[in-house]
């Protein structure tokens, strides 16, 4: 079947199998490998992307269900700048994860950041327990969550990021 999906602002039309999962469409068909596959059962959240502005677990969404809709992935978090290399400006959530050591192996990180961005867009000043609640559908095996929570709280208190956006 034919689908037309807007991913990170670019329109992609592809002939796909109806059973194709959105995560595989993104990774295998578009080469957007920032979103990861981790469990098949919607437990781990490594595959979280936005579908029409709402975080979803893309391992349990068919690509066909995204037809005519807009997907946002981790690759879109960094605000684009000029030039080949991007030269963009990191989202404060990305900066927070680097500043607060919110990642170790980095496998869960894209999904965590996409949920965190959504949280801060809707609740700009969450408490630590609200951050934990928001991320409770996702699993991290490295950090024990403490520094992920600190990272999101850092982003909430630095809505414009760091003066010098390094990472």
């Amino acid at each position: 079947m034919q689908v037309t999906i807007t991913v990170n602002g670019a329109v992609h039309s592809r002939e796909i199998e109806p059973r194709l999962l959105l995560i595989h469409f993104l990774r295998d068909h578009l080469g957007l490998t920032g979103s990861h596959w981790g469990c098949d059962t919607s437990n781990c959240g490594a595959c979280v992307v936005w579908l029409d502005q709402i975080p979803v677990k893309s391992c349990t969404v068919l690509a066909a269900m995204a037809d005519g809709r807009a997907v946002r992935t981790v690759e879109d978090l960094e605000m684009k700048g000029a030039g080949e290399a991007g030269g963009g400006r990191l989202d404060p959530v990305q900066q927070g994860f680097a500043v607060c050591h919110g990642l170790q192996c980095g496998f869960c990180t894209p999904g965590m950041m996409m949920t965190a961005r959504w949280l801060l867009d809707h609740h700009p000043a969450p408490t630590a327990s609200q951050v934990r609640e928001a991320l409770s559908g996702q699993i991290c095996r490295c950090t024990g969550y403490e520094n992920i929570v600190r990272s999101v709280l850092w982003a909430s208190t630095h809505p414009d990021g760091e003066a010098e956006a390094t990472a």
Partner: protein
Amino acid sequence: MTQQPAAGAYGPVRRKEDARFIRGRGQFVDDIQLPGMLHGAILRSPLAHARVVSVDTAAALAHPRVEAVITGQDLAERGLSWMPTLSGDVQAVLATDKVRFQGQEVAFVVAQDRYSARDALELISVEYEELPCVVDAGRALDAGAPLIRDDLTGKSDNHIFDWQAGDKAATDAVFAAADVVVAQDLVYPRSHPAPLETCGAVADMDVISGKLTLWSTTQAPHAHRTIFALVSGLAEHKIRIISPDLGGGFGNKAPVYPGYICAIVGSMVTGKPVKWMEDRSENLMSTTFARDYRMHGEIAATADGRILGLRASVLADHGAFNGTAQPSKFPAGFFHIFTGSYDLEAAHCEVTGVYTNKAPGGVAYACSFRITEAVYLVERMVDLLARELSADPAELRMRNLLQPEQFPHRGPTGWEYDSGNYPRALQAALDIAGYPELRREQAERRERGEYMGIGISFFTEGVGAGPRGQMDMLGLAMTDGADLRVHPTGKAVLSVSCQSQGQGHETTFAQLVAEELGLSPDDVDVVHGDTDRTPFGLGTYGSRSTPVSGAAAVVVARKVRERAKLVAAAMLEVGPDDLTWQEGKWRVRGDPDQGHGIAEIAMAAHSGLELPDGVEGHLDAATVYNPPNLTFPFGAYICVTDVDPGTGEVRVRRFIAVDDCGVRINPMIVEGQIHGGLADGIGMALMQVIAFDENGNCLGGSFMDYLLPTSVECPSWELGMTVTPSPHHPVGAKGIGESATVGSPPAVVNSVIDALAPFGVRHADMPLTPAAVWGAIQGRPVRAGLLAP
């Protein structure tokens, strides 16, 4: 080094790795796309024990997108149907005679895409003749138990090994004379490391050059290269293993798995690159599990609370193939460190390993080669003794801990602990917790019918395997190489044999070199995880990176510094003995303004400067580090829980962790590793178990059933630290990667049992799920990890 350095290159430097990960630009195995790449999938046994009567692949081969189907018979024709394990056993790559656990590999399909490969698995028809199975390790040695390993010549039972440590007679004498002896059966149930990235590989066999490139999820790329050479007959220089970014490992990615071999054969057969990635169920059901120790512990003490001795006997379930990954002379890993942190007169342990119809493995999940099991045993036994003596568990520990002046300490089972100040660490934890106040609060709550628990554990680990005369894997010494190149402009590239699964080596190891050479960590790149670009070494597991590879990095940097000294002497027209290394430069004694840093010296070392005879020029150096001993990190943990007696639900309210891993190179990374291990401890103590039904069906085959802690089960960790440097590590560092996973489960269990004391509960086995806790309160303990108590 005698203490934590105040300045220099050490400190909470932000990680170099993060720049790619926060942009979604990490490169994991499944991210690799090669031109013409095919996809593999494995057909697995639905049965725990069955004879394979026939495998019919005709329909699968007829699938229009299938390129090859490989069976055990196909591998047998190449001599590849069995492979050696890290414990000197063999494991089937694809079954030829029997399947011996549910999920065992039976056939491999190579297709043009991921989905077609899975479709074709459905088209393979396997006829099985089901056999009775052994699920309960306690029945494995029964007369008449089904024989699992009839492939082994002369094997007539399911026994693997008997092993012991310590002085049995002396221990028995201590027990006979003791005022108090407390005994307890303890189960450390089977769990699984469950890294978020499953295992997988991309194999690319270049038929022109004969070179195999294998991207794989391996924590030990060099050891794997040697194993593949030995198994496949490929020349070792024609094998390149690349371990790119790994999504966690925790020991799950130490072994060689059949899927890797299948991907290689698939590439050989098709002439194209082949990718194989497990799904989550395959990962949980077939790759290396952890623990599965049934232990009987006994502790002896005087009536006034002096601990005299420990005894343990253990039944170890190793599954269908003995695939445990530990130094080969230690079939029970380092379990014999079960004497813990105490000053004992004698100790003895004995371990029997058996085969069962379950997935192979056993040493994994940040266990420091079975120190998890050892620490759990001793720390539960000490708490049981405290209960028996009506003693406070903190005071009982404080009274019996080894004292600082007793180090180095040779324990009763042969370990030589390098350094420690245990009472200081325990006191630090008690202070952070506000221990007396917590006990007062607990007493008040009990008056009100509320069940609050306070659990303590004190652990000592031995990590950084290991000295070459004592420790090897498949005959390969556990030493690690390091190469350091310093370019003419003073920028350096360190190549190391260890490999990162998230530990931040690219940052920490750059800091190590920078500190030695007076450089910025930004000036040092760290290369790892590629056998063509790094020197040989045994990899990253057992908390060995900093103790072994980290030491190698320091030693090679010091070699470079010494080479630089000779060049600096020529530059300054003085003798080398006239120079002293000070504040990042070689300086003339008595005239410290005269001196050069590494960058200036590196340029001179590559220049036309005349050098004295015997001085080669350039600064590059290489080393191999053979650790003189393990390093012995330790710590004191306190867990505060609240238990709902109506539902059995446990809430972890606080967790205090004081760790001493010697000098901390990057304290931010160290604390992150501790956080992660503490979450593991909560998971193992309260949630995680890989259980089986009586037919050997795995009951923990997805994250719906194998429960992992999330952000809402974990408290905000409260960390403290002490620093007792290792006397033999070049910068005084000790391993830390597994400390919290090892030390935290007994603190959680001790806390829950403490909360349940008013119900007369003396012990309950992990995981302490609501059902298990509720059962314990009712006087009907549940053992979720076993068929029957």
